[in-house]
């Protein structure tokens, strides 16, 4: 699996599409372009870091509709909007909905390239994080249920002695289970372990 990023371009104007492809090729970016929202949505999600350069005004579904549709399908691809009509309310809506950038045509090439760089970086980080979480989850799943219990109690701040009392076992047993679990999770310290569990459980649980 090559890690080369892809930039998707959706614009109904063929000149704009082809000039974008040319421009982005000069900085070594791979481009896939589409003339409508439907054409893009029919495509399978990419397995590599990617971002979407999207014209607001399109036949059929608009750029804003695509943004909504992608969110509904849980496809978190970063979006850079292009518009021929500098409209503040629309750009605000787009940005609120998570757009990386909102550029008015014609734009400075560096502005677009910067936005693309940020978008790809964001997507790469998201993928990295997702991969790490998957990895941690796999490790967590390899623990016995008693080890998972011990770790959960440990992360919530309980001492070995308290855990042993609650589980009705000896403190020495808890110590053994704890060190075995740390080893399986590749955790170097208790702090490290807490960070890992937080990643697995997601930010929502941490917040509560």
């Amino acid at each position: 699996m090559t890690d080369a990023p892809v930039v998707f371009v959706v614009d109904d104007d063929p000149s704009v599409r082809s000039s974008l492809r040319f421009l982005l090729s000069t900085v070594g970016l791979q481009v896939e372009s589409f003339d409508s929202a439907d054409a893009f949505l029919r495509k399978k999600p990419a397995g590599v870091p990617s971002c979407l350069v999207l014209d607001v005004r399109l036949p059929g579904l608009s750029g804003i509709d695509i943004q909504r549709e992608l969110a509904a399908r849980n496809i978190p691809i970063p979006i850079i909007f292009l518009t021929g009509h500098g409209d503040i309310p629309m750009s605000v809506r787009a940005m609120k909905a998570g757009a990386v950038e909102f550029l008015t045509k014609p734009f400075r090439d560096q502005d677009l390239l910067d936005a693309i760089r940020i978008a790809l970086e964001r997507d790469r980080a998201r993928r990295e994080q997702a991969r790490e979480v998957t990895d941690l989850e796999r490790r967590f799943d390899s623990l016995t249920s008693r080890e998972q219990q011990v770790i959960s109690m440990l992360v919530s701040g309980m001492l070995n002695k308290q855990i042993a009392a609650q589980l009705g076992t000896a403190e020495s047993t808890v110590k053994v289970q704890r060190s075995r679990a740390m080893e399986k999770m590749h955790a170097e310290s208790l702090v490290d372990l807490v960070r890992m569990i937080e990643k697995i459980k997601g930010p929502s649980e941490k917040a509560s």
């Binding site: 704009v16 000039s19 040319f22 000069t26 021929g84 009509h85 090439d109």
Partner: protein, 760 residues
């Protein structure tokens, strides 16, 4: 008999007059020349005429014209000759009805005073009308009786009691015996039949005379065509004193019946088959009301198997409330023979096995079998018919109510164009009565300058069957003013396409017509404002469109610069980029070329408004186009829409543009309704969505270019409308797009973000 007392001695005119006055009948005093000297009060009261009117010869005008000639002949002769006189004639009563009178000479009196020595004759007139009428009735009933006897298929005769001579024999009697009347009247049985037969007949006659009651005998008689067996019913005829004076007889020849017995069995079988397969329930009951027979159809009609019914009372097929009435009526009929209901097709209520009551139509028949009376009912379930009738009545009623309550003037006309109905509104408006409007009477309310042309147009429609429409001035009775109205009518056609009726409406559009003037000015103003803002928008739109090629030019140029900086610009790549740059530059300059002459954009004035209000305003503006193009308008406006923040005039422009486009797209449509549907609602994202649906020719394959400036599918279009509309909508943060409509036409939709707050 004439009561004549000529030569009465002491008669004096005054006495005579007193005598006449005191007579209870009509009476008059006549002179020998036939003229009347005076009449009594009875006469005056009966005829309603005064004494003067009845004196002289004039009184004869009270005699019925048909009787007067004969009467005067007899009158003149009798008076002049001093002869007895009696005649019948009709005399006119005060109410102009004629009554029969017996008019006769009662008394002839000589005058014993002065030179006038002529006789006075007292005439009395007796009202015999009742007698005359009774006589006429009697004659009629006699004739009927004779006709009845003569035409009876039975042999009927009357014989004298004492001598046994025939007094009367009917036609059938004579036909059977091949004899004429002369040969029967006055003859005895011995002269017509053999001695042996005559002896049998006479013996039977004696039995009847002795018993004094009707009796029945089976008699054999030799007739010219062979021996006949007959049932003879003989009965005594009584005179006023109650003595038997004659024997009557009715002979029913059963010779043929015996021969037909086998044939009848066959017919019975066929009859049974009819009953068994009849669609109506057939139920027979005996005199006690117990069911003797029920056919299979009773199962369908009542839900009972025939076996369940036989032996049970008929009342089980009726609801409780009828049973008592039925039983009373039935026993009354058995006792008196009086029918209290119609035996043919009477509507009653039946009761099904499941307890359900339903309407039935019943016909009864009665026959006597083996001396017992059998009643048979044919019962038809008419629930469906009743239901249909009820429905029809209801729909008729509601239709009538509708035509009378509908707030519009309605009328209908026959195929000849004559008005045959109009609703109350027409009468209220015109002040004419229903009778006055009929035919061509409605023209009374039409302005005289319009009558000729309107009649012409109407006549043309009536003769061709083309829909009728005409604007005319109609007099309104309320203010006695002529007002502009439009009358329209469509023909109702039968299955063969022939016109059978015309239905029409009249609409007062005077206010509208006046408003039209004002509206036209408003429209002109709007057009001017529209042009101003349109041009401003046009400039914006063009600038927007220029941005596309500019973006491409910039991108291409920047890419080349980057490659150049990296020392990696291949001449081939450069040439291709430059070619694109040139193409896009040309494209941009073509667009820019059109900006010249356009004026500055007027800043939008955004207010919070209800888009439904704007839609209604624009529909009013487009009313003429909608009307003239015969477009059916439908509104599907959602009431509680959020307010939008928008420039009213710009929104009017967008809507007007879309509506006029829709109407134009339907101009070529002739084979289906031209319908324009205006919708407003909240879309999935909470924005206000407005849709304009038409049933026109639909979107072309080039539809994606619809919103491109200067693109047009119209022969005389500029190709800016949709492009500008889109710019306007987008400047409000909304979107404008087109979709195909189903099954025909196109839908143009636009959205506007809600501005917060909603319409109550």
């Amino acid at each position: 008999m004439t009561n004549e007392t000529q030569g009465a001695q002491t008669a004096d005119p005054l006495d005579l007059r007193n005598l006449i006055e005191t007579m209870p009948t009509l009476a008059l005093c006549a002179l020998p020349d036939g003229s009347v000297e005076f009449v009594n009060r009875g006469w005056q009261e009966y005829t309603g005429c005064s004494l003067q009117q009845l004196s002289g010869w004039i009184w004869q005008t009270t005699i019925h014209p048909d009787d007067v000639a004969k009467f005067i002949d007899e009158w003149t002769v009798a008076l002049a000759g001093g002869k007895p006189f009696q005649t019948e004639a009709r005399i006119r009563r005060a109410d102009r009805q004629y009554h029969w009178f017996l008019i006769r000479k009662a008394l002839a009196v000589p005058r014993n005073q002065g030179s006038d020595s002529s006789w006075r004759t007292l005439i009395t007139c007796e009202d015999i009308n009742d007698r005359k009428e009774a006589q006429a009735k009697l004659q009629q009933s006699e004739a009927q009786l004779r006709a009845f006897l003569e035409n009876s298929p039975n042999l009927i005769f009357l014989k004298d009691r004492l001598q046994g001579r025939y007094l009367y024999a009917n036609k059938e009697f004579k036909r059977a015996l091949r004899i004429t009347e002369e040969q029967v009247e006055g003859k005895k049985d011995e002269e017509l039949f053999s001695a042996q037969q005559a002896a049998v007949f006479q013996a039977n006659d004696r039995l009847v005379i002795e018993a004094g009651v009707p009796m029945e005998f089976e008699e054999a008689a030799l007739q010219p065509d062979g021996e006949h067996t007959s049932i003879v019913q003989k009965f005594p005829l009584l005179n006023a004193e109650g003595e038997i004076y004659a024997i009557g007889g009715i002979v029913t020849d059963i010779t043929g019946r015996k021969q037909e017995e086998s044939a009848r069995r066959y017919s019975d079988e066929r009859h049974r088959l009819v009953v068994e397969t009849a669609p109506d329930a057939v139920v027979s009951v005996d005199e006690s009301g117990v069911i003797q027979l029920a056919n299979p159809a009773t199962t369908r009609v009542f839900g009972y198997e025939p076996a369940e019914l036989i032996g049970k009372p008929l009342t089980m097929l009726m609801p409780e409330f009828i049973r008592k009435v039925h039983e009373a009526g039935f026993s009354r009929y058995l006792a008196t023979g009086q029918r209290h209901i119609n035996w043919q097709g009477t509507e009653l209520t039946g009761l099904r096995k499941n307890g359900q009551e339903f309407p039935v139509e019943v016909s009864f028949g009665e026959l006597i079998k083996d001396g017992h009376r059998i009643f048979t009912g044919f019962i038809r379930d008419i629930s469906e018919r009743k239901l249909a009738e009820d429905k029809l009545r209801a729909s008729e009623r509601s239709l009538r109510e509708l035509t009378e309550t509908i707030p519009q003037m309605l009328w209908s006309a026959g195929t000849d164009g004559a008005i045959d109905y109009c609703n109350q509104r027409v009468l209220d408006y015109t002040g004419l009565s229903a009778e006055q409007v009929r035919g061509a009477g409605w023209m009374k309310s039409v302005h005289q300058d319009d009558i000729e042309k309107m009649t012409q147009v109407w006549t043309a429609s009536v003769s061709t069957g083309e829909p009728f429409q005409y604007e005319f001035r109609c007099r309104r009775t309320a203010d006695n003013a002529y007002r502009w109205c439009v009358s329209s009518a469509l023909p109702l056609r039968d299955q063969d396409g022939r016109v059978i009726k015309w239905f029409g409406t009249v609409v007062d559009l005077h206010d509208r017509k006046e408003a039209q003037q004002a509206l036209q000015m408003t429209q002109a103003e709007l057009a001017r404002v529209s042009r101003l803002t349109t041009m401003g928008e046009l400039a914006a739109s063009i600038a927007h469109e220029v941005n596309q090629p500019l973006t491409a030019v910039t991108n291409n140029s920047n890419a080349c610069l980057r490659l150049l900086a990296a020392g990696n610009l291949q001449p081939e790549v450069l040439r291709r980029a430059l070619e694109e740059i040139v193409a896009d530059g040309n494209r941009a300059s073509a667009v820019v070329a059109r900006i010249r002459g356009f004026i500055k954009k007027k800043p939008a004035e955004k207010n919070r408004l209800n888009i439904n209000d704007v839609i209604q305003e624009v529909l009013a503006l487009a009313d003429r186009e909608i009307y003239e193009n015969r477009v059916r308008l439908e509104r599907q406006l959602t009431r509680a829409l959020p307010l939008v923040s928008a420039d009213r005039v710009q929104m009017q422009q967008v809507l007007l543009n879309l509506i006029l486009n829709g109407i134009e797209a339907m101009a070529a449509v002739t084979n289906r309704p031209r319908s324009l549907c205006m919708q407003s609602r909240i879309d999935d994202s909470g924005d206000v969505l407005v849709a304009v649906r038409d049933s026109g020719t639909g979107l072309s394959p080039e539809a994606h270019r619809l919103f491109t400036p200067f693109f047009t599918t119209k022969t005389n279009g500029m190709g800016m409308g949709l492009s500008i509309s889109r710019s306007l909508v987008e400047s409000h943060g909304g979107r404008l797009w087109a979709e195909p409509n189903s099954p025909h036409g196109a839908v143009f939709c636009f959205t506007l973000p809600e501005s917060g707050g909603s319409v109550s």
